[in-house]
């Protein structure tokens, strides 16, 4: 009898293990597609660095396709799928039409941005990230430090992630000083690489009185930085720049006040884990102050007392004492700006 029981039990255990392996997806590699080079001290770099770090932590391969521009990425997605990518991260809002199409066509999971409604179990994930909590703190800081009592927000587009940060910044400014003016200007429709437009619009915003610029712009943010470095504020003093997503300290010439820095690694790690657990595409991903996936950059331009105040406010935001809700809609964002006439 025993000679029958042992093999039967072993067979049951073995088939149970094999079934389990078949159910949980195997993740061998991830791929990330970015519109610009992953060396922009911003959106693209944070994405590429996070993908590399998450893949390394998971012990899997990462394929980086960068500098793809803002056109049709379907051929690149097909190529990456053929190379065996288990997950393709389409790291640009301009890719969120093509990527789901390819996911459905080739049955390869993709991650897209700014489209939470596109979730599809096992196939399409969305990471509409928002650094609104960090932007709120940046707004509080800007209002504390503005000499002209006017600050500017310059953006190269109005994707939801940036809208929520623009709103967070404006809310922070108003919370600190309701009399501080907030000037809001968009460079152009999807002007992400328009550095000349970034400089031109920022110079106009500075001429309108702003002495602190909160800029969101990928490649165009270098034009904003150039404008800040070469233009005096209306009071003749220095104009300071608050960046987002990345850390431009290595190329700063003394005009970088701060940055709302994002760490996307926990998001990509969660995606890999969800793929393995077969729960991918069932939930959205978030970043925030609590786990330092969003944080405000400390630079020498920030006085110690201001930094201390901001850190105290950070604790209040984390504890929920100061609620900061994301605002993704562009119309709602404009309504928050100082001089908007309804």
């Amino acid at each position: 009898m025993r000679k029958y029981i042992t093999p039967t039990l072993s067979a049951i255990l073995l088939s149970g293990w094999m079934l389990g392996s078949a159910v949980s997806a195997e993740v061998k590699s991830i791929a990330i597609l970015t519109p610009e080079e992953g060396t922009d001290y911003g959106w693209n770099q944070q994405g590429v660095d996070a993908a590399k770090a998450a893949a390394k932590a998971a012990g899997i391969e990462v394929i980086v396709a960068q500098g793809l521009g803002y056109g049709d990425v379907r051929p690149t997605l097909r190529e990456l799928a053929e190379e065996g990518a288990s997950l393709m991260i389409a790291h640009a809002s301009g890719y969120n039409t093509a990527a789901p199409e390819i996911a459905n066509e080739l049955n390869v999971p993709v991650a897209i941005v700014d489209t939470p409604s596109a979730l599809k179990a096992g196939l399409i994930g969305d990471y509409t990230l928002s650094g609104h909590q960090g932007a709120y703190l940046a707004g509080r800081m800007a209002a504390k430090m503005s000499r002209t009592n006017t600050v500017g927000i310059v953006v190269s587009g109005e994707p939801p992630s940036w809208n929520s940060q623009s709103a967070g910044f404006a809310q922070g400014v108003k919370a600190e000083n309701a009399d501080t003016k907030v000037i809001y200007a968009v460079i152009g429709p999807a002007a992400y690489s328009d550095a000349a437009g970034g400089k031109r619009v920022t110079e106009s915003v500075i001429a309108a009185g702003a002495d602190i610029i909160f800029g969101q712009g990928n490649g165009s943010s270098f034009g904003m930085l150039q404008a800040v470095e070469t233009t005096k504020a209306v009071d003749g003093g220095k104009v300071l720049f608050i960046d987002v997503i990345g850390d431009k300290s290595p190329i700063d010439k003394g005009f970088l006040l701060s940055s709302v820095v994002w760490n996307i690694e926990p998001v990509y790690t969660a995606m890999i884990n969800d793929l393995k657990a077969d729960t991918y595409g069932t939930k959205s991903y978030a970043i925030g102050l609590e786990d330092d996936s969003v944080m405000l950059l400390k630079t020498p331009q920030i006085p110690d007392n201001v930094w201390s105040d901001v850190q105290a406010l950070r604790d209040d935001v984390i504890s929920g004492k100061i609620p900061v809700e994301p605002v993704f809609d562009a119309t709602a964002v404009r309504a928050l700006m100082g001089d908007v006439k309804e």
Partner: protein, 311 residues
Amino acid sequence: MSDLFSDVFLGALFFGAVTAAIPLLLAGLGEQMSEKAGVLNIGIEGMMIAGAYAGFLGAYYSESLWLGFATGAFGGIVVASIMVLLCVRFGLNQIVIGIGLTLGFEGLTALLHHFQFSRTYPRLPAADVTVVPYLSDIPILGPALFKHHLVVYLAVLLVFVLAFVYRRMQLGLNLQAAGDKPAALDVAGVDVVRTRAFAVFTTGALAGLGGAYLANIGAGIFVPFITNGAGFLGIVLAMLARGRPFWVLCGALLFGVCLSLTTALQVAGINIPTDVIQMIPFLAVMAMLIMFGRKSSLPAALGIPYERGAR
């Protein structure tokens, strides 16, 4: 709202309009010459981006904006030489080659930038300006129009030079004939290929100069894809201008003013969707197309390679 519209702010808006218009003007004048000679130069965006990269490179390493403009023009000529070889000399499809040049040089300059500047992102210092005496003292418009780098005045002067060339000189007549009746030009003993090649090389130089202006003065930095479609707008301006350089100038300035108007409306906090505001420059171009485009006549042999004796 009124306190926002100070002299300084209005001056900055008009200054920005001129700065935005100059690359379009140079690209438009270049495209106009190509089209006059019968070459539809879709590759002008590629020439601009090559000029932007080469111009920035020259200015950054030599610390001279003038050398930067020279290298920018040379960068545009290098791209133009490919167009001359493939389209003018070998008679290949001008649209296909033009698109190929644009895509190719967008990619190449992005790649070169990646290896060279993507860790440092060097920026140029603010450009020196040439102040026009008396005129620069006019309130608001004075500083906006008459306190620019010398190259801006030269670009405007070029409009009049080209108008003179097209109307009064044999070269202008030859260019016109190369685009309208190349066979007649050939019969008259003028080399059509050389005439068209001259036009395309000049286009390359002007587009390259426009790109260099965009990078060195417009932005003070080079980033990949910096031209952002300026070359294509130059093509539209050239087509609308119907061979008249002065109309290219008007179109470029109109577009620049509309761009500044979008900023002004936003700064004023006008509560209409930003997308609508951002449409203004393009609506202006469309309005120009409707008003003047119907009457525009393009050279009869535009886009058609010249082959001696072919019917």
